[in-house]
């Protein structure tokens, strides 16, 4: 993949601003002491948190690439898979079996969604499909909680969550975040290999490129959609496990979809690496802004800062950093 020049420029500018703005804020404000180790601690914490956002954004990208559907239900799928996992575990299944069973459930879910929702809506406008996925969101949120109850559940996979000191004790990083980043990395590499070297992966890329052309060389579109929704379900399960062990399995998991959206538009709807890079930029930007800029304007900016950051990027690159260039013809 050839990375365009302006992507690199924008990226450099971002890095520069991420250092410059907190530094300037630190100089201006008496409350904040600007020290480099502290800065790096915040930045690294943010980058690692960003990876968690990427995990959710990844599911969006997979489905958008293969079917052009903006799947708002990804957050609900994260919640649903985590609830199912914990619920099955509470029923007495050992964790590994519960994970396998949940994967199976997500596969069934993908088949049902394709049969019941997507197939009748083939060739409808994008906004109708988008609306349908919001319908799926409501359904899954309600279904999962009807089935498994709505109290907060604890998901413990034995991932260490103690803070550890790195770089000679200067910087404090949560071990859990490191593990999460590692898992996300493995997931992305696996997906990349899957897309690049398997038969199904090739078919997926073909469909993503051009539905009609893919159909005409004999790729079964329906199967592809089931597969891609199932893969998104698996990604949702991984995200559900990570977010669930971090926050506990509860309804608010469904809301992280709203955190993943700015990541998505920043990276571009169609790019897997974009989801990762976008997550890193949003994560670091958000944390730095929270620590260094928020005290200047009153705090509590995490709700909208990511969106404003993404918006600022989009003004320069309307298709996101790595999205396919939007070519318009009359």
């Amino acid at each position: 993949m050839r990375i365009e020049r302006d992507v690199i420029y924008i990226f450099m500018a971002t890095l520069f601003l991420m250092v410059a703005i907190p530094w300037a804020a630190g100089q201006l404000s008496d409350e904040i002491l600007f020290e480099w180790p502290f800065f790096f601690e915040v930045a690294i914490g943010g980058l690692l948190a960003g990876v968690m956002y990427s995990l959710v954004a990844l599911g969006f990208v997979l489905i958008f690439k293969a079917s052009g559907v903006f799947n708002f239900a990804q957050g609900a799928m994260v919640l649903f898979s985590a609830l199912t996992l914990v619920g099955l575990n509470e029923l007495g299944l050992p964790m590994w079996l519960a994970i396998i069973a949940t994967l199976f459930v997500m596969l069934v879910l993908a088949i049902v969604i394709e049969r019941v929702v997507l197939r009748p809506l083939v060739n409808q406008e994008h906004i109708i499909l988008f609306m349908a996925t919001i319908g799926i969101t409501y359904f899954l949120d309600g279904f999962g909680q009807t089935l498994w109850g709505s109290e907060v559940k604890i998901l413990d996979l034995g991932i260490p969550s103690d803070p550890g000191f790195y770089f000679g004790g200067a910087i404090l990083i949560n071990d859990f975040d490191l593990v999460a980043a590692l898992i996300a990395g493995v997931l992305v590499i696996t997906l990349a290999l899957f897309f690049q070297y398997t038969r199904i992966g090739r078919a997926l890329r073909a469909v993503a490129d051009d539905h009609q052309a893919a159909l005409s060389v004999g790729i079964p579109l329906k199967h592809i959609w089931v597969i891609v929704w199932a893969v998104a379900g698996i990604v949702a399960l991984v995200a559900g496990i990570m977010w669930g062990s971090k926050l506990g399995v509860q309804f608010s998991l469904a809301l992280i979809a709203l955190k993943a959206l700015p990541v998505l538009i920043l990276g571009g709807f169609t790019s897997v690496p974009g989801a990762i890079i976008g997550g890193l930029i949003i994560g670091a930007g958000e944390k730095l802004a929270e620590v260094f800029i928020a005290p200047l304007i009153g705090g509590g900016i995490e709700d909208w800062f990511a969106y404003m950051l993404a918006l600022a990027f989009l003004v320069f690159r309307p298709q996101g950093l790595f999205g396919e260039k939007i070519i318009e013809r009359v």
Partner: protein
Amino acid sequence: MIYREAGEFKASYREDQAILPIRQDRWFMWGLMAVAFLLIPAISSQYWLSTIMLPFLILALAALGLNVLTGYAGQLSLGTGGFMATGAFAAYKLATMFPELHIVVVILLAGLITAGVGIIFGIPSLRIKGFYLAVATLASQFFLIWMFNKFGWFTNYSSSGVISAPPMTVFGDFFVTGPHATAVAKYLFALSLVVFFAIMTKNLVRSNIGREWMAVRDMDIAAEIIGIKMLPTKLKAFAYSSFLCGIAGALWAFVHTGSVEPLAFDVNRSFQILFMVIIGGLGSIMGAFLGSAFIVLLPIFLSNAPHLFGINIAVDLISHIEFMVFGALILFFLIVEPHGLARLWQIAKEKLRLWPFPY
């Protein structure tokens, strides 16, 4: 048999270009107005007027606003809640800063202020399109709500962040907001405004501006090539849409709930309005009303349905099942008629034309 335009001849352009060119449609509309203005206030209980009719009307106005933007101008927006909040807070600040202002003036000015805010948040739409724009408009949603929560100036430094709308009157001493207002007065006030703006919108989308919006919706590049200027056209759509949303927000806070709170305008409100627009039918004035009726009535029906059938279920379970059924019904409606209830309405009219001899 009854619904047939045969024999109705138009003798002037004016008649030919009427909003409702067919006589039966006009009768139907007058009948509907009579029911809405006379019959419903006469027979409805306090409860019906204040918990069903008022939210229906006000949300229909907001849906109308979003429909202008999304259905007519093709700009997908998820910032409706933020614009409604802007309208509500603008109205509150105006009403407390200038207590002598008439409530209609307050509401119109609040709409104009919201239109200004809408223009600011509409500027990125010149570069950003489609779903990118939809997500980008969430920025305005979250930013505006944060702003109203954060700065005490907007709430006149009220400690709880929740403020009640001051009582205001129309026609001398006829209370339409505050504790002394009767449900009937509130209903009629909201209804008059909503009907006025619905007619205004209907005329607007039939005009030059409306045709420009539709050209931009159908293909903006082609529209630009035939000489439609993107900047004013898109910004006009944002301005008018947020004008209506702002008025809806002001009505919601002043007339419906009586208190101005940012929580009533969170992102779920934006989704709710978008549902109304899509279930009702994109690009249809009637659709905004049908969609609003559907989305307002459905949850009320769903939460009362178990009692009607004599089933007792735990309260939290009911709310989950409600969610589920709501989602399923939305999917059902999208699959059955992706073009919304307005399309069903149209099909019904076509059928009625041939009834009772369809062959």
